[in-house]
Symmetry: C4
């Protein structure tokens, strides 16, 4: 029972989720630059969806690169994570089509919260499948970043009712926080990489 | 002739089948939580499709993890299974759009029956490709779960004409029965996993 | 330069091409079995597309299983083959929506001819990348099946102007001819399989 | 941290991007060859998108075949490249639906420029991840083809305002320039291939 198929299936789902929004971008009527303007919200929507999809793909990639053992619980925790991730394009476009109205922005925050929470659950289930001295357990134990992000997203969802644009700013900032995977993990994997290949 | 490509192709099909219904979830008009309400049936439809897709992916994953040999018959038995699986989103949305009317619910049961029957056929063809002492043959021989599920789905399809909601309950219960792959298989694979990696 | 990525990319394209037509099957309005009737042509269309996609996937799988070396020409011959294959769902649905009218049926035959011709070209390019004593060259040299099929499809395309249903019958018969990959190849791969794994 | 998953995820995105435009090709109303005529622009659009997608896939394939080490920066440079590539079908169909009007043709040139620029960035990031004596660094260092292509695309985008058809001709010529991956890379990979497998 190796992890290659878990990765391949996740990659298939990531690829579909990330590109769903291109399917909605039809060529505009008209040939001036102005005719591109009504497409701007859907383009920004695609960009934000792509960035969140990419952010979680990179983190997922590093997490599984450090994984040595999987079981049926890991498969299900991963499927749970992918389910919540697949809802992001839907909520992103709801926000954009309504010019960041309060309730869509709040709903977006809750959806992002569920993605991070299910990612945290996947980490927990992966830890349990390993011994205490495995690479993944030694390095990733605290999971502090996930907790801070979850609190930030819930706070932003509440804030959205008063100031939707502040909530949106929080979502964008925390996408930035996740751009680089856990530094300790990156370092450990790169060192190992040197040992194994060179 | 190894199995990696059989798995990769199946994963591609699983990924498309599982996410087809997200494509149908367009952002609602309106910014209140009420405006999400008309999307509820399509959301539940997506959830149920995702769960059935996930359930069969996890079982398919374990089945092929125990596989050592494939041939052209295995490829075709797998394609036959994927064909029936690809019809599930269609029948799920027919049920949901008609508030669980009798005939769509019965048709859904028949479709689920075909998925399980074609999965059973795939197991049979895989057994024939192995020797009698192969891991997969020793552990999976009885295939009792498939038979019980097939009888349950046919019974539910008939029941649907009188009580569609009882039929739906049976479908949901049997999704639960398949959440964990065959226990003996999980155990055998995990033991092997320990030997090979640690 | 190994072949795993050539296979993975082809599998992604096969998966999308095969499932494109499910996307067009929307749940019918109405809850009787009669309301499924207008969907019958699109269902048959999906079935035929799935079968042709599956037939070429199985043959492509065996061909590449016997491949030991690839180069840029192989990549391009493979892309050319996938391009023609991706047009099949379009021509299938044109036939079905017009109840097998002469010109759509003839166009379908030409499209199938191009798929087989590009598959033949892929075989030729693969042979050239190998030495004369390589498994793939020793076993597949004649390529007689491809020639007969190409002549049959062109004949059927001409026949379609007089008797479209005879042409359709020829298309279905030749799908059957390709269901099993070249027998010599299957045998050689299975023998090798035994040596390598057991 | 190996590269197989980077390749698999890229292949999934390539497959979706390349086939997006088939989804837009609906079977025409009518059964004469004339009824195919209104589909000609969308068919040419699909062909051009397919060719550009294929061209970059082949080059990406060779680039990663020569890669030995990856890190998080490589993952992000690759995602950036895939983002720009995913916009090509959109700009291609804008050009075709407006019979090569000036502004869509210019926008198309800018989009192609971004694809090549992000591909160049991916090469640069890959070089930095390797030692100076790695295969990929020794062979690909100059990157002259990328620079010439970028200048050509920007020139064509400006030219488009006066002569859109000359600009289109430049785009098609430079697709041809990229059909074969860097010759030195092809040669090096093929030699290595001989050593490793035969």
């Amino acid at each position: 029972m190796n992890k290659s198929r878990l990765e391949a299936f996740s990659d298939g789902l990531f690829a579909v989720v990330i590109t769903i929004m291109v399917l909605e971008m039809d060529a505009p009527v008209g040939t001036s630059f102005t005719s591109l303007k009504p497409l701007l919200p859907i383009f920004l929507s695609y960009l934000l969806s792509f960035v969140y999809g990419a952010v979680f793909w990179v983190n997922h990639h590093h997490l599984l690169a450090a994984t040595r053992r999987i079981n049926a619980s890991v498969l299900w925790a991963n499927l749970n994570f992918l389910f919540w991730l697949s809802l992001i394009p839907f909520f992103t476009s709801w926000v954009d089509e309504n010019h960041a109205a309060s309730i869509p922005v709040a709903a977006y925050g809750i959806a992002l919260f569920m993605v991070v929470a299910s990612y945290r659950l996947l980490e927990t289930v992966l830890f349990r499948a390993h011994n205490a001295d495995a690479l993944i357990v030694r390095i990733l134990r605290p999971g502090r970043r996930e907790k801070i992000t979850m609190i930030a997203f819930i706070t932003a969802a509440v804030l959205a009712f008063a100031h939707p644009y502040i909530a949106m700013t929080i979502y964008i900032i925390f996408a930035g926080v996740w751009v680089m995977p856990a530094r300790a993990l990156e370092k450990a994997l790169t060192d190992k990489d040197i040992c194994e290949i060179e």
